[in-house]
């Protein structure tokens, strides 16, 4: 456990150096923080965010899908697109991370509409220009917002029974006199409050209040764009479709442009009879970025965040290769390697530090894999063939054990590949 200690003054500056580096390589920092700190390379994915924003801006009611594996940089692209729209056009843009609004594991159709409607209502009530509305308009906005909120969170109605004791399924309106007789309280569930039972309420019921809100919004802004993030967490494509079909159809009808994320599994249509290209106007797929000595895209990520001070050649290339081109893995490995150097009282990263953290990353991916899955991985490594029609194989993609570089180029994550146990060669 013994380790050498440098002089206190040196220690302090050494610690500050490492702290600054760790801040730049923080794989769990919110994407907007990294953008604001100038740590993001905006053209990493061929400036995808500009394409997303331009289409949403030019074609009201358009619907675009962004698909990519875990840690591929989807949220960063969405936030950049939102920022671009806010800066350059007359578009009112909303960014909704659905997974922070509601429990996605019990998500129902109507939840996207409810989340969007709530944000729109809040913006109109409290945002810039709210004070300029007439009293009549303010009242109307308040009513529409209340209806959307009821739709989102449900309500409690007072119900009446007739003289025979049978419940009359008609709610007594708020503020009116309560007629004599027996009463009971009836709970109408909302769309966002978990846990949610399967609901059959017509999504059209929220259309009218939403239209009212949008009419007010469009008096000031030319168009409205909503960016839905977080739906890529729904690894099951069936669930994704059951939610988006109804909600997005309504938003298209209201001419609200939509940019939405989806899990990788929607690309392969496992267990679902839906084709994404039939439904969405454009599908953007963020593949992993190959470690390419000519292209140097991954290397530029390290450079932008100031890795040069801690990494001498050829260590950046080793990091890029070990990450497999998964952006978050690259940032994590760069951070963890520095952490190893720091706790070992070294001033810069060594190859041994990188090997150690890459081994740990690979071990994490290996955990929980059965012999069958390991055979699939070894076969992929040998033959480069990978059948994406098999749900078990899609699972390997979703968990990032297999990486997709193009529609015909699948490879085992290099950190995992280095720790996969190999079968003993058969003796002659």
């Amino acid at each position: 456990m013994s380790s050498s200690i440098t002089a206190p003054e040196g220690q302090l500056s050494r610690r500050d150096r490492f702290r600054a580096y760790m801040q730049a390589f923080n794989p769990t920092a919110p994407a907007w923080e990294a953008i604001r700190a100038g740590l993001v390379i905006e053209d990493l994915h061929q400036s995808l965010y500009r394409n997303l924003a331009a289409r949403a801006d030019l074609e009201p009611g358009s619907q675009q899908l962004v698909v990519g594996g875990v840690g591929s940089g989807k949220t960063t692209e969405l936030i950049l697109a939102g920022r671009w729209l806010n800066k350059r056009s007359q578009v009112l843009t909303f960014y909704v991370d659905v997974s922070t609004e509601t429990d996605l594991s019990s998500l129902n159709s109507g939840a996207l509409i409810a989340s969007f409607g709530r944000q729109l209502g809040r913006r109109l009530a409290d945002g810039p220009g709210a004070k300029e509305h007439t009293e009549e308009r303010r009242q109307k906005l308040k009513e529409s917002y209340a209806k959307v909120t009821e739709y989102a969170y449900g309500k409690t109605e007072l119900m009446l029974a007739d003289e025979n004791g049978s419940w009359i399924e008609e709610a007594i309106s708020e503020g009116s006199d309560v007629p004599p007789g027996r009463h009971y309280l009836h709970e109408v569930p909302g769309k966002l409050k978990p846990p949610l039972p399967p609901l059959n309420r017509d999504i059209q019921e929220v259309r009218a209040p939403l239209e009212d809100l949008l009419t007010t919004a469009k008096e000031v802004h030319k168009d409205v764009v909503v960016i839905f993030d977080g739906l890529d967490r729904l690894l099951d494509a069936t669930k994704f479709w059951s939610v988006v079909l109804q909600d997005l159809r309504l938003l298209r009808g209201l001419k609200v442009s939509v940019i939405i994320t989806a899990p990788l599994s929607v690309l392969f249509g496992v267990g679902v009879g839906q084709s994404i290209s039939d439904f969405f106007d454009r599908v953007h797929h963020l593949t992993v970025i190959p470690s390419d000595p000519v292209d140097k895209s991954l290397w530029s990520v390290l450079q932008k965040r100031g890795a040069i001070e801690f990494l001498s050649a050829p260590l950046p290339s080793v990091l890029c290769t070990d990450s497999g081109g998964v952006l978050r893995d690259l940032i994590t490995l760069a951070r963890d390697a520095a952490e190893e150097a720091y706790v070992s009282d070294r001033d810069s990263i060594t190859l041994a530090d990188i090997e150690k953290v890459a081994h740990q990353l690979g071990t994490g991916y290996l955990r929980g894999l059965g012999p069958e899955a390991i055979n699939v991985l070894l076969e992929l490594e040998g033959s480069r063939s990978f059948d994406v029609s098999q749900p078990a194989n899609v699972e390997l993609l979703l968990t990032r054990r297999v990486l997709e570089y193009s529609s015909t180029d699948f490879r085992v994550h290099p950190a995992l590949l280095s720790v996969i146990p190999r079968p003993e060669p058969k003796s002659a």
Binding site: I5, V70, R233, D329, E395
Partner: protein, 195 residues
């Protein structure tokens, strides 16, 4: 190379400290006496990070409860304990709510070995946050031998140029140097209460 890096709790806390905000990592709980280990981890985190530390049980918590607990407050250190192994379904459901778990303060997952396998298989979004930071707690990782402890105390005494008694006196007088090594020294002297 061992499967997971074995680390004293103090070292795990030190890693979180150098990472700054939003840090996530996982610690494999020891097979026996897990609750004592959890207490020790909490104490070391408190000392090194100089932050309040809470342990939250993942098992019975609903989405709403967890979201609220993680954000009120959102800057202390939180240990999410799986207790006995979580079901695959629970891991899936935690995974899709990862954004709701994101916070300013550090998040430490306290897991059984079975949970680590499920984390990788059923919670790829959380696993992506954990990355390679899965550490092993246990007798060899959490507790130093007497000889190791004595050697480290000598190193620290030499480094600062005064004895352990003097270190305690200075800490009591509020004259502690602002260095992680001094924090480590007090913890090794059994005086983490002075931090």
């Amino acid at each position: 190379m061992p499967e997971f890096s074995s680390q004293p709790f103090f070292e795990i806390a030190r890693r979180l400290e150098i990472r700054g905000e939003n840090g996530w990592l996982a610690v494999l709980s020891p097979a026996t006496d897990s609750s004592a280990g959890l207490d020790q981890l909490q104490a070391d985190l408190r000392s090194v990070l100089q932050k309040p530390t809470r342990a939250i049980q993942l098992q019975p918590s609903t989405f709403e409860e967890l979201r609220e607990a993680m954000h009120q407050p959102d800057d202390d250190a939180v240990i999410l304990s799986s207790g006995t192994s979580l079901t695959q379904e629970k891991w899936r459901s935690l995974d899709i709510m990862r954004s709701a778990l994101e916070r300013k303060g550090p998040v430490i997952l306290w897991l059984s070995p079975g949970d680590v396998a499920n984390l990788t298989g059923y919670a790829p979004n959380i696993r992506s946050f954990i990355g390679a930071s899965i550490f092993l707690a246990g007798p060899d990782g959490s507790i130093m031998t007497d000889a190791e402890r004595q050697e480290r105390l000598n190193d620290l005494s030499q480094h600062f140029g005064f004895t352990g008694d003097e270190a305690v006196r200075r800490a009591e007088a509020g004259e502690s140097p602002h260095e992680p090594e001094f924090v480590e020294w007090l913890v090794l002297l059994g005086r983490g209460d002075l931090l």
